[in-house]
């Protein structure tokens, strides 16, 4: 676990996997070390370090009690999908299988929301076995609810936006609602399964 300074008020902690990033962020969130605890793909950012915690050594000391563990009994969400995306055939070609098999593999995967970004409620879901290239030319508009793959990640567009991920299906799950106490359906740590509808 390496701790890198990010200017005078923040530090980035490197871990070895998205699962560890989620785990460390969840573990550290309650400690009051920083204003923002932001998991990334293989890092956790501590931004707005509390007085006394500024500097990498005190933070490293505070985090030294953490041990990577398997994801705890995080919230589980089931997301209904119609597997009719425009890039199903391209993903099938990348994986060397039939389009039906893409949907089957996707439904058979235990995903975990690793981190958010790109848009509120957009979660990078880890767990995909295999990788998918991004589109050479991003689409100018991907509809809200598009279920898409890129690299080792799966994501769902919370609202229409430009995007370069390969769209395999569509859901009407509500991913972002600021009127709720928990506005993001897929906050980091959430376990996700997809089911065909």
């Amino acid at each position: 676990m390496r701790v890198l300074p990010v200017g005078p008020h923040a530090a980035l902690v490197e871990v070895s996997s998205p699962q560890d990033a989620v785990g460390l962020a969840e573990w550290a969130r309650g400690l009051g070390l920083a204003r923002e605890v932001v998991p990334g793909a293989e890092t956790v950012l501590f931004d707005g370090l509390a007085d006394g915690a500024a500097g990498t050594e005190p933070l490293a000391r505070a985090l030294s009690g953490w041990r990577p563990t398997r994801a705890g009994p995080g919230r589980r969400v089931e997301i209904p999908v119609s597997y009719d995306g425009p890039d199903l055939a391209a993903v099938a070609a990348a994986w060397g299988c039939a389009a039906d098999e893409v949907a089957a593999r996707h439904q058979g995967t235990d995903f975990v929301a690793a981190f958010c970004g790109f848009a509120p409620g957009f979660a990078y879901l880890s767990g995909l076995a295999g990788s998918v290239p991004r589109l050479a030319t991003p689409r100018t508009r991907v509809p809200a609810g598009a279920v898409a793959l890129a690299g080792p990640w799966c994501g769902i567009y919370p609202r229409a936006s430009p995007g370069g991920w390969q769209v395999i299906g569509q859901t009407d799950a509500r991913l972002w609602d600021v009127t709720l106490a928990e506005p993001a359906l897929l906050a980091p740590g959430t376990r996700v399964r997809f089911v065909a509808r």
Partner: protein, 287 residues
Amino acid sequence: MSLTVLAVGASVLVQDRGRAGWAHLGVPRAGALDAPAAGLANRLVGNGEDAACLEVLLGGLAMHTDRGRWCAVTGAVAGVRVDGRPQEFAAAVWWPAGTTLEVGTPGAGLRSYVAVAGGVAVDPVLGSRSTDTLAWVGPPPVTVGDVLPVGVAAGPPAALDTPRTPSAGPLRLAPGPRADRVDGDAVALLCGTSYTVSPDSDRIGLRLDGAPLPLARTDELPSEGMVLGAVQVPPDGRPVVFLADHPTTGGYPVVAVVDEADLWQCAQLRPGEPVRFTRSSTGRPTG
């Protein structure tokens, strides 16, 4: 009481100090881009630090008030008129009921701040009244015909306050977490390069034109959390200073961080204007 918006220029946004604590869900902090100017406007009219004011890009705002209130305009220096009569800038000004306040186009800088005693009282979203132009969380941009509610005035206007000198200095830099992705000393290279503000700059980032930074590595970096003031270098080598509406995670290396105390300048730099960096002497040692 309420304000009726009669005219807006390039952009008018409701802004307060922003929303903290939601970055892990992909929600930027937002908030007034020139935070010291917004804070001064609020103090002048007796508002608390959390009050919301209006961030006016390049002037052009006209509003009618149905009640008399103290108001103040700060930030980029612009003409202030009430029913056509010139008013003092960066001072508490009495805005009588039934009159129109106008904010003209600044001769230098970009963003002026209009505070009204009581604050703009639109409904907060996730604890803040700020409009975020990346995530579009918070109230929509202010448009002609809007009726903006105003809260209860908290205290008397504070007449004595000193606006900062408008002269901009170099932006102080501390090393970022991925400084090693630059071929050489990232801070020294940034300090030694002449940049100008790109016209693509906005509340998300100050984009810089100039000699590209030499990158030592161009392989992909896994996405990681980003701070306000992060200097990110995309593959084309032209740095971006991330401002209030920046994405909360990103995949390009952050090689330096601008001192938060200098970020107000980024709110006021016009496209084509020069930007200089200097090494921060206040940053703690690394390691």
